[in-house]
């Protein structure tokens, strides 16, 4: 648990509510953010006070080689919805997809923020291409890399949202045609960087990270790869986390799409689920306040893992995977070293069922000869 300054007042205080937002909805929002931050519920009043009374936090949101899914994810953030977020929590001073201004006037909005000397947060969505002088992404005739370098240098801190901004994502997948990289790769020496990998990042986590700063005026506790612990500390594959994990412990796994196990919610690991090597809070903070891919019956592709497009594909092929092998090919990040009894259990299961380890470098070329049917399933016991 990170060290948190004590709440000024743990009882429900009189709040200067944002205009047009009901007290109930507002507290619901603050409570949801508190939960997302893995903070005790008693912190909610302090967060509520900060959100309601602080000046809106200026945010410059840069889109580079992106697909806008992180913006869309952010737009699906927790209740009472993004309407209140946009108008009451942050001041989105530059965002190509959403801003009313266009062309030179849009660029002057960015110039105004940079010239004013005011504090602002920079959010980057998308990878940054470095090959050939950066010609694969230009905005207003300038390269994405030059814009990202200029803006991040003046920001209070930078949030790289999504896997593309974190480590280059899909554009950087083999053979990386445009020399794409993440913010850390495009801005050598950057220090005040928060990485929120995911494809896309869950909007709840984007919102929670911003609200954490608004409340405590410091970055949330981060791991060695710059990821907030509140969202990336736990591996999803474990008891009390993935709802399908107990089935694995009972030796019950899905072996074919739509089979009895699939209909009964059994473990998807043999269908390629990358839960055993993935650190994310999807299991806790459902998507769209509804469910998550594993809950809907699909294997996890491990989209928060470094270089997941190469490391985790082919996605439907079951293979031995330990927590350390998942990160050994990563140039930019380390997996948390959290261990638990579950890890030991899983590692044992993997080594007894898989004969070979497919590495990222050979994954694609071995596809044709690799099947998803594992050797005889062994129960891991419990």
């Amino acid at each position: 648990m990170p060290t948190i300054p004590p709440a000024e007042n743990s009882r429900t205080v009189d709040l200067p509510l944002p205009h047009g937002v009901s007290r109930r909805a507002f507290l619901g929002f603050c409570s949801a953010v508190t939960a997302a931050l893995a903070l005790p519920e008693a912190m909610t009043p302090r967060i509520a006070h900060a959100v309601a009374s602080a000046p809106r936090l200026p945010v410059v949101w840069l889109a580079t080689q992106d697909c806008t899914a992180d913006t869309e994810s952010f737009l699906r953030s927790v209740d009472p919805g993004v309407g209140s977020l946009l108008f009451d929590v942050i001041s989105l001073d530059y965002h190509e997809t959403l801003m009313a201004a266009a062309g030179a006037r849009a660029e002057s909005s960015l110039d105004d923020v940079l010239a004013s000397g005011q504090d602002f947060v920079c959010v980057v969505e998308g990878s940054i291409p470095l090959a050939d002088g950066g010609v694969h992404c230009t905005i207003g005739g300038r390269t994405a890399v030059s814009i990202v370098q200029e803006v991040t240098a003046k920001a209070l801190f930078t949030m790289a949202v999504g896997s593309c901004a974190t480590d280059g994502g899909i554009a950087a997948a083999r053979p990386n045609p445009t020399g794409a990289t993440g913010v850390a790769g495009a801005v050598p020496g950057i220090t005040n960087l928060v990485n929120l990998p995911g494809c896309p990042a869950n909007g709840v986590n984007i919102t929670a990270a911003l609200v954490y700063y608004l409340t405590f005026r410091e970055l949330p506790p981060l791991d060695a790869a710059g990821r907030p612990l509140f969202a990336y500390e736990q591996r999803i594959h474990g008891s009390g986390r993935c709802e399908r994990y107990p089935f694995l412990q009972a030796g019950q796994t899905v072996e074919a799409w739509g089979d009895e196990g699939h209909r009964n919610g059994w473990c998807l690991v043999h269908m390629g689920c990358r839960g055993p090597s993935t650190y994310a809070n999807c299991y806790q903070r459902n998507w769209n306040e509804t469910t998550w891919p594993i809950g809907a019956g699909a294997p996890c592709i491990g989209c928060t893992s470094p270089r997941f497009w190469d490391v985790n594909s082919p996605f439907y092929v079951y293979r031995q995977r330990t927590t350390t092998s998942a990160t050994s090919t990563s140039p930019s990040g380390d997996q948390p070293t959290t261990t638990s009894a579950d890890d030991a259990t899983t590692t044992t299961a993997a080594t007894t069922t898989a004969a070979t380890t497919t590495t990222a470098a050979t994954a694609a070329t071995t596809t044709a000869t690799t099947t998803t049917v594992p050797p005889t399933v062994t129960s891991t016991g419990s």
């Binding site: 801003m99 494809c199 074919a256 919610g265 694609a364 000869t369």
Partner: protein
């Protein structure tokens, strides 16, 4: 004089428009896509069952659609027929995507071209209430409600932090709505922000998450079905889906469609601006149980709603004469071979050499003709094919707007047909849910065909294509599979059709064409240019994608200063 609008904001991705303006009108225009990722190159050598996971990331705004086209392409190549339940689930997800895309497009992307925030601050809430009551039965209609919205907007402006609304063209003479219309539409801007996150839970239930649902499979869907099961899509899930589908229909019928018809009536002169090439292409989509699509395929030419041609995908070619690729003959996507060669100016630059190559987008053509794709094409083709519901919807809108059918080929025509197809699809959701519930009740729980799941069951070589109608228009994927991996992958995307640069014959792309003749009152505030371009709902991350996905092919890029 030449003007440059870069970035064109309120779209997905990056877009640059250069336009020549003379005597207050656009006389020529160039559309440039300044971003390129190379996803098709990335696909070479990978497992075809993974392709949809990659291609879905082409776009997170029109998420889902390139997943659907991809699984269809691989299924076509491998000869797989999906179970009926998978067809239904895919239709539900795609229709939900249409609703989301189109509603967000109206209010949050296109809306600020038509709605003047500063005018809304002068509105009379009581008059706004009367206006709302005249438009529909939507219950957020009291004077008090509009007074609250107005106060919220005023407090926002008074804070001095204008955020998203800073530096816009507010007060431009082309904004002609009454203050009350502006206030009503701004209220719906805010309501739609909150609403869009609710009903998209359909994607979470069926797909695990949104954006980028995770349950597509080559052969079906990973959404296991069991009416009474606790850990599958069950009767409770279907009941939740019904509630969400009803929410969709209510909002679409009471807010979105009435607002769009109101906008169309108020901006009737824009039914003759931004007319486009007049050729329309539609692949058809939303297959029924009998395999026939709800929205039929076809091609129309010359702004006609009468002479419908059958579609033949073999007539599609892509031209790169004015794009940043090595020159080659126009080729069908299944054999497309293209090599990126950047010859644009070295950044930072002020102007492109529009007499030479000027975009990362290629120029798709159908039988050598420029085609417009999207809602206008779908509704016009359905109209020409005499689909009864399409005829009712279009004829009703023409009466409401008091315009002839030729007015559909315009800026407002694109907007209105977008709303009409949204209504048409919102009406289908309940029926598809009935079909799904009926299958489940009858014990049909099949959701995938596993017979061709394992690569050992595949032929040594296979080729196929998958066509779909994405919200922005015709979307096609072409795949070649050799020895279990992808040897070639080619995608032709709606915004590549609509936003293409010129081709070898010098023919403008669809929105380049539509821009010519557009009045521009103030060249330093080209609001009218935005209106025309936004009416196509550009999606530029989609529009640019490369190209030569042959295994091991070189992707060297040459920069010529």
């Amino acid at each position: 004089m030449k003007i440059v609008v870069d970035p064109i904001t309120r779209i997905e991705g990056h877009l640059r428009i250069e336009a020549e303006i003379s005597s207050g009108r656009v006389t020529d225009a160039w559309s440039s896509s300044p971003m390129f990722r190379g996803i098709e190159t990335v696909l070479a050598g990978r497992d075809p069952r993974d392709a949809w996971v990659f291609t879905q990331r082409i776009c997170g705004v029109c998420t889902t659609v390139s997943a659907l086209a991809s699984v269809r392409a691989v299924e076509n190549a491998l000869g797989i027929t999906i179970p009926d339940n998978a067809r239904i689930i895919r239709n539900l997800m795609e229709a939900t995507q249409y609703v989301h895309d189109h509603v967000v497009h109206l209010y949050h992307l296109h809306g600020p071209d038509w709605i003047d925030l500063t005018s809304a601050l002068t509105a009379d809430p009581a008059a706004a209430s009367r206006l709302q009551r005249s438009l529909s039965g939507w219950t957020n209609n009291s004077p008090e409600y509009f007074a609250t919205v107005k106060a919220k907007l005023q407090a926002f402006v008074d804070s001095g932090q204008l955020g998203l609304f800073a530096n816009a063209y507010w007060g431009h003479p082309a904004y002609t709505l009454s203050p009350e219309s502006n206030l009503v539409l701004m209220a719906h801007y805010l309501e739609a922000l909150d609403w869009q996150r609710e009903f998209v839970k359909i994607h979470a239930i069926l797909g695990g998450k949104n954006p980028h649902p995770q349950t597509y499979l080559v052969g079906g869907m990973a959404t296991a079905l069991d009416p009474a099961g606790a850990n599958a899509l069950n009767d409770t899930s279907v009941a939740m889906l019904r509630v969400l589908a009803k929410q969709i229909r209510t909002f679409v019928e009471q807010v979105y469609v009435p607002d769009l018809l109101h906008l169309g009536r108020e901006y009737r002169p824009w039914t003759s601006v931004g007319r486009g090439p007049g050729n329309l292409l539609c692949y058809g989509d939303f297959p029924g149980r009998d395999g026939r699509p709800l929205m039929p395929s076809g091609v129309l030419r010359g702004r006609s709603l009468n002479r419908l041609e059958a579609l033949d995908q073999r007539r599609i070619t892509e031209d790169v004469t004015r794009s940043w690729y090595a020159q080659g003959d126009p080729l069908h996507p299944s054999v497309g071979v293209t090599e990126p060669v950047y010859t644009g100016p070295t950044p930072p630059y002020d102007a492109l050499d529009t007499a030479a190559r000027y975009s990362w987008s290629k120029a798709p053509r159908y039988g050598n003709a420029v085609m417009e794709v999207g809602p206008l094409a779908r509704m016009a083709v359905a109209y020409a094919a005499r689909v009864p519901r399409a005829r009712q919807l279009v004829d009703g809108a023409l009466r409401s707007l008091r315009i002839p059918a030729s007015g559909l080929f315009s800026t407002v025509g694109r907007m209105v047909t977008r709303a009409l197809e949204t209504q048409w699809l919102a009406e289908q959701l309940g029926g598809w849910l009935d079909e799904l519930a009926g299958n489940m009740a009858a014990g049909d729980l099949a959701v995938t065909d596993n017979a061709k799941w394992l690569p050992a069951s595949w032929p040594a070589t296979a080729t196929g294509f998958g066509l779909t109608e994405a919200p922005r228009g015709a979307l096609g994927h072409w795949v070649s599979i050799e020895n279990g991996t992808i040897s070639r992958y080619q995608i032709v995307i709606p915004s590549t059709w609509n936003g293409s640069p010129r081709d070898g014959a010098g023919r403008r792309g669809a929105w380049e064409h539509a821009l010519v003749g557009t009045p521009v009152a103030d060249a330093s505030r080209p609001l009218e240019v935005l209106r025309v371009v936004h009416s196509f709902d550009p999606c530029m991350a989609c529009a640019v994608h490369v190209v030569d996905a042959e295994s091991g092919a070189s992707t060297e890029i040459t920069v010529v200063p």
